[in-house]
Symmetry: C2
Amino acid sequence: MKNRDIGVIDPWGSTSIESYEKLFEEFGIQRIDRLVDLIPERPSFIRRGIIFGHRDFERIVEAVVKKQSFAVMSGIKPTGPLHVGTILTLREIVFFQKLGATAFYCIADIEAYEDNGIPFEESERIALDNLIDALALGLDPSRAYIYRQSKENLVKDLAFIFARGVTLATIEAIYGVRHMGLYMSALIQAGDILLPQLKEFGGPKPTVVPVGVDQDPHIRLCRDLAHKFREKFGFIPPSATYHKIIRGLDGSPKMSKRNPMSYFTLTEDIESIEYKLRNAFTGGRATAKEQRRLGGEPEKCPIYELYKFFFIEDDDKLLDIYLKCKNGEILCGEDKEFAVEVVTSFIKEHQRKRSMNVDKAREILGLL
Amino acid sequence: MKNRDIGVIDPWGSTSIESYEKLFEEFGIQRIDRLVDLIPERPSFIRRGIIFGHRDFERIVEAVVKKQSFAVMSGIKPTGPLHVGTILTLREIVFFQKLGATAFYCIADIEAYEDNGIPFEESERIALDNLIDALALGLDPSRAYIYRQSKENLVKDLAFIFARGVTLATIEAIYGVRHMGLYMSALIQAGDILLPQLKEFGGPKPTVVPVGVDQDPHIRLCRDLAHKFREKFGFIPPSATYHKIIRGLDGSPKMSKRNPMSYFTLTEDIESIEYKLRNAFTGGRATAKEQRRLGGEPEKCPIYELYKFFFIEDDDKLLDIYLKCKNGEILCGEDKEFAVEVVTSFIKEHQRKRSMNVDKAREILGLL
């Protein structure tokens, strides 16, 4: 309501943006605003400030402008079907690929084991399903190095090399008191992020890691290691972009696997997705009458966030919904039916694209 | 003096044996006495109680008696020239090889990096020198799997798998507050010890690890991991034998690289070895007169321990020196000249054997 009080309409804003402010001050994440102006054809997640912060993104902009070699590094932890939030990460990767990056896409099966206890035999099957999603979402395998951690000895060796550079205090500060497997995961992840910079991959080179802002501790650990082992490997500290965290459909602050009503997956039954959308928390008022009088609160609404983050690419269309909601011209029931339509047609199209990428995914994973 | 007071002469004993008593009570290490009676042709380190304790050694005795497959696992950390104490470990390995074991001999270059900061490029050179020593001391490469940790992916993978089974509390209790590299070393070491039990090597099978008693925390960690991952791998808890720790030539409780006068290496200059022997601490009295009257104290004497641990295999010969010392018939100066003769002739012979094993060591390490 703050925006309305001061008469400013910001359809791209979110009430939760305020919680990001301390990241700039306390942790040294930079605002990305002006930097992204230099980038041509800005996708919705940039135009709308969903990517809101960065570290050392100047290096990436410079590489793009000067047409120099650079990498985008990301991945998935194969623990189950991919989450709707993956759409954003994949779009970020694809965006950087189009800007000239080689993508390094890691299937984090060691992490799936250490963190979630999933044996490699099991995660192989999940990884295939996840990779089909990634390809269907546009990951270009011809400009990507896609690998499983458990099969990539260079990553494992980096983890062993980095271990000597990490104190117990550092690792405890990031992860708390946990088992050794989780700590090893952190080192493996640092190995993934710095892999593109090994001479075997034509490094050192600028690398950008697009992450949710909750992943910043990993980025900081990795940048610290890049510095400590700079002499040996010539590492350039990896750059990062930070996106906002989408709230749960049930109104919780973050979609979470622990709460199935907070999210849906890319391969979920249409009926189940419809059910979750229709039962979602919204920015609606207590009664229809009140909502017509006061207007809705899209800035608090998970359904509106779904549009903004993933499902409505056209800014005019999104602004139209925002204003209609704000002005009480559309009620939540009606809007949810629209959401069902938009989301299910996306998922159906995604299913079609998946079927076209099964063989490719099998080939990449050596499962033919 | 305790032995003399009660009229018992025990040339194989040592004043420091008392410090081992608590290991039996507090840590559950078993006395090896009766078990080794079952073993034919007992070498001096068994006859003299230098190997004094064990865990689950029954399994090994059973495998020997029933002529079943078993392994002996040991290795070296390539940080520099090998220490005189290595003679004992190698004799233990060779002993088990002769009893029918396949030796797994690990060149712990990951540990040399994590613990001592030695890069793999550097430790490769050291490893070659160390392996030449090991072969010269009788390690039979035709009945051994000799490998570098950094090249053995199965060991690294075991470390990643085991990580999930080790809490921070456990690792801290063993190693104190250190960097992650040291903790990873512990997991790598567990990987080494359980490597012989992988199906790739025809496991599971009984495995004995001959160690100095100061290494028991590693053995306990590894046995704990064998138990935790028994379902997945079918591990048999590894057995261990424990040998006493030889004191430093300078009278310190333990030979240590930090104190060069406390030990010599197998490739040290003869002059340097002679100097260290002639300047060694002994069990002698304040004056020659007093020593003739009271006798020496071989049970406190590092020179006597050198004989007992490494350099005099004949029990009658060792007993003769012990009694002459006890009775004041031989003084330290004279005895040190004898030690110089015995040790330098051993080292010269060792040098000769080294020269015959250089090519073999290169071949094993793939450095031809």
